[in-house]
């Protein structure tokens, strides 16, 4: 499937882009992170949470095809 992946804050700094579409046939978010870490080696040095369909999810969640986001530590307020 094709997944829309969004990067924010210091994660976008590492990827150099804020958003991309990724063709991917794996099952879990963990696998997607593995694939993207090959493309962006500094990704694994960063701390982040992940959202799928705008809800925080754990890395062993199954990919549903919804929008995925890499979220660095929150800094609101």
């Amino acid at each position: 499937m094709t997944i829309k992946v969004k990067y924010f804050g210091q994660i976008a700094e590492v990827t150099g882009i804020q958003e991309e579409f990724v063709k991917f046939s794996g099952v879990t978010l963990m696998e997607l992170v593995g694939k993207l870490s090959q493309k962006y080696p500094d990704l694994e040095k960063k701390s982040f949470q992940m959202a799928q369909n705008k809800e925080l999810v754990s890395l062993d969640s199954k990919l549903t095809g919804d929008e995925i986001a890499f979220l660095p530590p929150f800094a609101g307020g």
Partner: protein
Amino acid sequence: MKHKNVFKSGAIASEFIGESIAKHQSKTNIGAHNIFLGQVRADVINGRTIAAIEYTAYEDMANAKFHEIREAAFNKFDLTCMHIYHSLGKVKAGEICLFVFVSSPHRKVVFEALEFLVERIKSDVPVFGKEYFEDKTHQWKVNK
């Protein structure tokens, strides 16, 4: 689902806050207002001084989270009104980046509700802050 937009471009003006207070004078069942304002600090870190924070957000998710937090607060506390505004983009040191405003007939409720809201906003909403030093270098803000 499309939620109300909490974000404002740039700093939140003191006049806007004053006007927001004025609008509540027709709600004569209100006895107590409580307002939290977050202001950008000119922290000095290893000799470099923060000049501004540039805020970005995962806007759709953030507005959905703000909506969730608002609903939770209305369910938990007897509030007459609640308003939340957060800056996006650059906010200079000394300027206001967060404005949370609750109103209720009685004071006990507003103290509890305001702290609940601010803590939830800090912990649950995907907002990111790039702290610019005066020498144009930067670091990333992390909420404690």
